[in-house]
Subunit: 217 residues, 2 copies
């Protein structure tokens, strides 16, 4: 019975996600659904990415947060359109909430919307938001066993960004173990090893994400 | 409608949790529901705690994992009763699964069961397992803003264990900000600052947790 309820919720979510995807395709806007554990560095990644690409790419952001607008306030300095969705306890964004805020953006004048989902390695991977693709962010300080233990996200994502590489020397993170686990789940997935606070390794990420975004004419 | 469904699920969870709590009280077993983000250090905390207290306290463990028995295998060396619950994608343990595995333990010969919940700062806080209390584990590398951004767990928990203090020098973690946020949510909650990998600061934790456990006669 619980499975049936879950299926109904997912079916309704899927219908709305399809609608969101149709609108975004029509307006030539790429939507990136960024998923990670709490504190893996999603907001710092967005800060870096806005810094590097804002002049070339027209960026909008949807900030999913359980409560507070702290992450959005960190991005205010870039003077880009930002909408906050507070889930009030909810553990993931869904396509209904995305659909409701889509009108707040001037879509014809945007190339990409980055969606910072709720910090949660489990639930957000089950809900299609209508995004172009999911991006998995995981930090070295969480340990090298995350792809093996939380496989859904790594199966679904189009790319993985491994953050906080600057902290590897102070932890027992084993890159080989991480990569072996990841490749068992998703053998060809692009992997970017970066430190968003230090700025290490971000060049390849900027190049890849720019290639993914269909620049409007 | 979705809220009503959620209420039904929670009501049924609560009934079973009450039953679990009744059995544990009768058998004089303390149950600690350990909740954190993925990779905050729950398993390492259990390794340290088993090392330090196994001779004095009869410990059992329930390992909640989405898939794999990796955490349980790390604890095998202590030769204590361990049961793994694989949620197969589920984002939290519930009282039904706890109730089902309770029979696997020889409860009259146990003082405490540590439950390592799924790595998730959101969903597990909503589900009473029948535990004696919840313990929040959070690591410095997740950032100092976690109590402010994910308040439910910190409101519900009986104590907070701040792990990975050895990494503070390499991050922008601000202890004062962390503590200020935490005290706004739960002003008198005990806070243990520790490094489970290095062993720093664990003495106070061992003392506190030992005091919480009703040693059977």
């Amino acid at each position: 019975m619980e499975i049936k309820i879950m299926k109904n919720i997912l079916d309704r979510n899927q219908d709305r996600a399809n609608e969101v995807r149709r609108i975004l395709t029509e307006k030539r806007v790429t939507m990136v659904n960024i998923i990670s554990s709490p504190g893996a560095g999603k907001t710092t990644l967005l800060e870096r990415t806005c810094d590097a690409l804002k002049a070339k790419i027209r960026i909008g952001v949807i900030e999913g947060d359980i409560t507070t607008d702290r992450d959005a306030r960190r991005l205010k300095k870039y003077n880009i359109p930002i909408v906050v969705i507070n889930t009030e306890g909810g553990c993931h964004l869904d396509s209904h909430s995305i659909s409701k805020v889509l009108d707040s953006f001037d879509l014809v004048n945007l190339d990409v919307i980055f969606v910072e989902n709720i910090g949660n390695l489990v639930c957000p991977s089950h809900f299609d938001l209508g995004e172009s693709f999911k991006l998995a962010v995981v930090s070295t300080t969480e340990g090298d066993d995350k792809p093996g233990k939380y496989p859904m996200l790594f199966r679904e994502a189009k790319a993985v960004l491994l953050n906080k590489t600057d902290l590897i020397p102070y932890t027992n993170f084993n890159f080989k173990n991480f990569k072996t686990d990841l490749e068992k789940i998703n053998s060809l997935i692009p992997l970017f090893s970066v430190s968003c606070t230090k700025g290490d390794g971000l060049g390849e990420w900027y190049k890849w994400i720019s290639d993914q975004i269909r620049i409007s004419e």
